[in-house]
């Protein structure tokens, strides 16, 4: 379809207004495009190009303007982003535990006690963030049928993501330093790599979640039953 096509133009405009996980957004937009194509076919069938264009304009008008419909799409995308972030946050504590296990199971690689205590405290913080993430996943999933969605949940998940990214980074770096001090440079490099990968992914998801949360202020519709 050319950009002159009203349907494609509308979908492009809606796409520009929405932010969230690429897969969820693309799926929503694909459905919108399909639905509008069905509406055009229903109205114009095998009509002339002029009839099809008129039908496309009618379908777009019936769909609603971007300003009218974007908030409800964005609310779902924000929740999708919060769930995506929560899944990553939930991985921080196990990842930190893995780093600690790597350090303590290597012969002669037991970390310095101060580093171990620091990592344990940071691991506790990561575990708390993981608990919050699990609660967020539950309340935005099946539990959402009975419980209203707390308005600030996406922000809470975003900040939990930031906290988890920081604790993961500090904790794993502490252990990596301890490993380096005990002469295990290869292990230190592995830990540093895990840290960078984990920290980057969680921090990016948390930033995206905060951005989406700012775009979706209206409250969740009343749950069923």
């Amino acid at each position: 379809m050319s950009s002159a096509d009203p349907v494609e133009r509308h979908v492009t405009a809606l796409s520009a207004a929405l932010h969230g996980p690429a897969r969820a957004k693309n799926r929503m937009l694909a459905e919108v495009r399909d639905g509008l194509a069905d509406a055009v076919a229903d109205r114009a069938g095998d009509g002339t190009p002029a009839e099809r264009e008129r039908a496309a304009r009618e379908a777009v008008r019936e769909f609603g303007t971007v300003e009218e419909v974007a908030p409800s799409f964005q609310r779902e995308l924000t929740i999708a982003q919060a769930r995506h972030t929560a899944r990553r946050v939930a991985l921080a504590a196990p990842l930190l535990l893995l780093c600690r296990q790597l350090v303590t199971t290597v012969p002669g690689g037991r970390p310095l006690s101060a580093a171990e205590v620091t990592a344990a405290h940071l691991g506790g913080a990561a575990a708390l963030a993981a608990l919050l993430a699990a609660a967020a996943l539950a309340v935005t999933g099946g539990l959402g049928r009975r419980l209203p969605l707390p308005r600030g949940l996406p922000f809470a998940v975003a900040w939990a993501g930031t906290a988890a990214a920081v604790t993961l980074g500090l904790g794993a770096l502490t252990l990596a330093t301890a490993a380096a001090l005990t002469g295990h440079l290869a292990l230190a490099a592995v830990l540093a790599l895990l840290t960078v990968a984990g920290h980057t992914r969680i921090a990016a998801a948390a930033r995206a979640c905060r951005h989406c949360a700012r775009l979706a202020r209206p409250p969740e519709p009343r749950p069923l039953a």
Partner: protein, 117 residues
Amino acid sequence: MKGDAVRGHLDALLLSVLEAGPLHGYAIITAVQERSGGALELRTGTLYPALNRLERLGLLRSDWRSAGERRRRCYELTDAGRRSLAEERTAWRRFTAAIGSVLDPGQGPAAAPGPAA
């Protein structure tokens, strides 16, 4: 009756038209129109976020299926969705019976249990 009439009942309407089997988005819109004799029209722009929400809550599931020459994302009820629809129906019948007994007092209270004689 257009979008305003549907507001507040959208979830129940969507669950209800999907009770018979899987449908894709546009087919859901036409099913609501047909079953209401054209009285109810879903705003297409509100449909997809609502379907997405119901799927997230576990009331619907969806997958891509062939519909004619094209592939469409089709939605169907889960077991939780069927239970939720039954609850919505019960609540709706109680509500309409209560309103009906006020608007048509000659009809008497509908199915209101009285004390044993």
